[in-house]
């Protein structure tokens, strides 16, 4: 299991940041390698994410549920998915909250969550996958700041990470 705890300082007003972060299309555009798929009647939607573990690309398909509490500016995201070869599954649960930042017109986004990877790629979890996720989180933070500032983001592309071997030795 990999834990995420992140506080992202965004130089935009909380209301605006909430607007961005509560919109799945906007959030997805902040995650490189992610694409939004069909929306379902129960409010969930499909998503795909291409992750680069080492030099290998792995494409995950997931069912994503987003629950929003606009009053508290708090959201819960959960995703369950697997890769195309059905060799690896993942479950991700995260909560995020937008709070006022250290000054007018500034916000902080507090994210905490857990990701569990099982199956063939799980050997990575020892540290490689953790590093990949840390990198993705950092990238997400940067993209979120830019998106809130109204910058148009580049099209999705894959991000980096390890193979699924045991370290030799």
């Amino acid at each position: 299991m990999i834990s995420i705890k992140e506080e992202i300082a965004v130089p935009s007003p909380p209301a605006h940041v909430w607007e961005v972060i509560s919109n799945p299309a906007d959030v997805v555009s902040c995650i490189s390698g992610a694409e939004l798929g069909a929306a379902h009647d129960d409010g969930s939607f499909d998503g795909t994410l291409v992750v680069r573990f080492g030099a290998v690309r792995v494409r995950f398909a997931a069912r994503v549920i987003l629950e929003l509490a606009a009053d508290e500016r708090e959201g819960r995201l959960s995703a369950r998915g697997r890769d195309g070869r059905r060799a690896t599954r993942f479950a991700a649960d995260a909560t995020f909250r937008v709070v006022p930042g250290d000054g007018p017109g500034r916000a902080r986004v507090i994210v905490s969550g857990e990701i569990t990877i099982t199956g063939k790629l799980a050997a990575l979890v020892e540290s490689g996958a953790g590093t990949v996720i840390t990198r993705m989180t950092t990238e997400f933070s940067d993209q979120l700041v830019q998106r809130c500032a109204g910058v148009d983001l580049h099209p999705a592309r894959a991000v980096g990470g390890g193979g699924q071997w045991q370290c030799p030795g």
Binding site: F53, G54, A55, V56, E126, G128, G162, G163, Q164, G169
Partner: protein, 550 residues
């Protein structure tokens, strides 16, 4: 005649010429009988090491290696090396003495049958004098046909019984049909259809293809299909001098260009390669490919849990010839990967001298590999050792030469020098070198003395980072204390000299070149202790521990 003589005679009839091991009460009569029959005996310093040598012997000779131990404690020493040989699918017979049949109170008693099962080898018991020859035949038959180690366990009282002279022994080879297996035309047809519908073909050549000497046929199929040629780790560098479109190893040890190109494949043709999860990264390396597999095994489940779209069970040479002929007759010819752009990407150097970063008195391990590859002629074979350091050689050795890797065979450190000694003996004492870590080499240091005693021209290049490099780097990534994995070593050059061989401790590239030149001029048992920096992390470790896209 005594049973131990009959047993020895049967071993000779099975082609046994070299036996590694250590004498004790329960195998010494048999060893004496072998010596009288002209078999070369190699007295080692640890039975497990002897097994490692027999393993290397068998992997090179392609027929069963032989190791011997006395009862109980001698057998117990075999554990690690036996499991390695078993995982490597090495044909091997371990002649193990046993305490007197039924005497469970004997000091050296061990339930050898149960022990054999635990260490993953087959077991044949010599329980009666009149069944002794049959037992030898069965042990060799199983080891050859199942390609695995078999323990032949012989109680000392049975060995010492009188028996009839044996003159009718039928070697196990007489029981094994030798014909070639021909490909099923329907499978060839299916393979042609797959290739016809493909644009980017990759051929992966494995140990089986090299053993079958199918190089020429592979190159013809490659030309016809515009394929990239990759190898498994076991066939590293094979045919790399014969085609410009060689991408090296498929899997974690592939360089970035290889990884990127391989992921574009829409068809993979495996020849004598099981396509285990190492080679195809559980299938992730070939997300869009269909598979054609040529192998002699009855059936194979690949490392992605699936079977090939077309499985051609046949001898490699015959199957490749048929497949190419079928493609020719259907006028199927692809440009595939054979473009100037791909060629350009493949000719970029892997690591340039400008990138080498040693420390004062400590070499960059990549530079060490570079110098070794330059200075050691291609006729001198290579064995890749263990630990973190092995990643450098596995990725960076470029010269076409015989390469043996033990990666993935139980992951025990320290086996490589033993495998090298056995391999040299099987090759008629042709020189070979092994690149090994300091901890791995020191684990079986006494066997360097064995190499000296028998004048085995092995060169051991110790990539000495004075520590357990693997743990050092993993500890760093896991937030543990790397210093706990630092272990100082004495200068190993003088140690090697004291044990009766040649030796040098080197701290610069020039010193390394000089030491290598001396070995190459007159190969003899030699240790070169190369002091390397701990600051360079291998590409596989960077991928696995740090998720780097390198």
């Amino acid at each position: 005649m005594k049973v131990y003589e009959l047993l020895a005679q049967a071993f000779v009839a099975e082609g046994t010429s070299d036996v590694f091991g250590m004498m004790g009460d329960a195998n010494m009569h048999w060893m004496n009988a072998l010596a009288r029959r002209g078999v070369r005996l190699y007295e080692v310093r640890h039975e497990g090491s002897g097994l490692g040598m027999a393993d290397g012997w068998a992997r090179t000779a392609g027929r069963p290696g032989v190791v011997t131990t006395t009862s109980g404690p001698g057998v117990a020493q075999l554990a690690t090396s036996m499991i390695v040989a078993s995982r490597a699918r090495t044909p091997l017979v371990a002649f193990c003495g046993e305490t007197a049949w039924g005497d469970q109170g004997a000091v050296q008693y061990l339930d050898q049958r149960r022990f054999a099962a635990a260490i993953e080898c087959g077991f044949v018991h010599v329980s009666r004098a009149d069944l002794a020859e049959e037992a030898v035949q069965r042990a060799f038959y199983l080891s050859r046909t199942e390609s695995r180690p078999i323990m032949l366990s012989a109680p000392i009282d049975v060995q010492k019984q009188e028996c009839e002279d044996g003159d009718q022994y039928v070697p196990s080879t007489d029981l094994i049909p030798r014909g070639r297996s021909l490909p099923d035309p329907a499978a060839i047809e299916a393979a042609c259809d797959i290739i016809r519908a493909s644009k980017r073909v990759v051929i992966i050549a494995g140990r089986g293809a090299r053993r079958a000497e199918a190089g020429e046929q592979i190159l013809r199929l490659q030309g016809r299909t515009g394929a990239l040629l990759a190898t498994t780790l076991q066939a590293k560098n094979w045919l790399c001098g014969s085609t410009d479109y060689h991408v090296g190893i498929a899997g974690l040890y592939g360089d970035k260009t290889a990884m990127e190109l391989l992921q574009e494949a829409d068809c993979v043709i495996a020849v004598g390669a099981s396509l285990n999860h190492y080679t195809i990264e559980h299938g992730y390396l070939f997300p869009d490919a269909r598979y054609i597999q040529i192998d002699t095994a009855p059936h194979i489940v690949m490392g992605n849990g699936a079977v090939a779209d077309s499985y051609i069970r046949a001898d490699a040479v015959t199957a490749l010839t048929e497949l190419t002929r079928a493609l020719e007759s259907r006028s199927v010819a692809l440009e595939g990967f054979h473009t100037t752009e791909v060629l350009h990407r493949l000719t970029a150097p892997l690591a340039t001298p400008a990138e080498f970063h040693g420390e004062p008195g400590l070499l960059d391990p990549r530079e060490v590999i570079h110098v070794l590859d330059e200075e050691i002629p291609g006729e001198i074979g290579l064995v890749l050792g263990s630990g973190h350091q092995t990643d450098f050689g596995t990725m960076l050795f470029q010269r076409s030469r015989e390469v043996l890797s033990n990666y993935g065979m139980f992951g025990a450190i320290g086996q490589a020098p033993l495998l090298t000694i056995g391999s040299i003996v099987a090759n008629g004492n042709r020189p070979a070198f092994v690149v090994e870590g300091d901890a791995s080499f020191l684990m079986h240091l006494p066997e360097f003395e064995t190499a000296c005693r028998y004048d085995i021209p092995i060169l051991i290049v110790v990539m000495n980072d004075e520590g357990l490099g693997a743990e050092y780097h993993k500890a760093g990534a896991a937030g543990l204390d790397p210093e706990l994995a630092v272990i100082p070593t004495p200068e190993l050059g003088p140690v090697a000299v004291a044990l009766g061989g040649g030796g040098a401790t080197v701290r610069t590239a020039d010193q390394l070149r000089a030491a290598l030149a001396e070995y190459v001029r007159a190969p003899r048992p030699t240790v070169i202790d190369v002091r390397i920096t701990r600051n360079i992390v291998s590409i596989p470790y960077r991928r696995l521990l740090h998720g780097e896209d390198v």
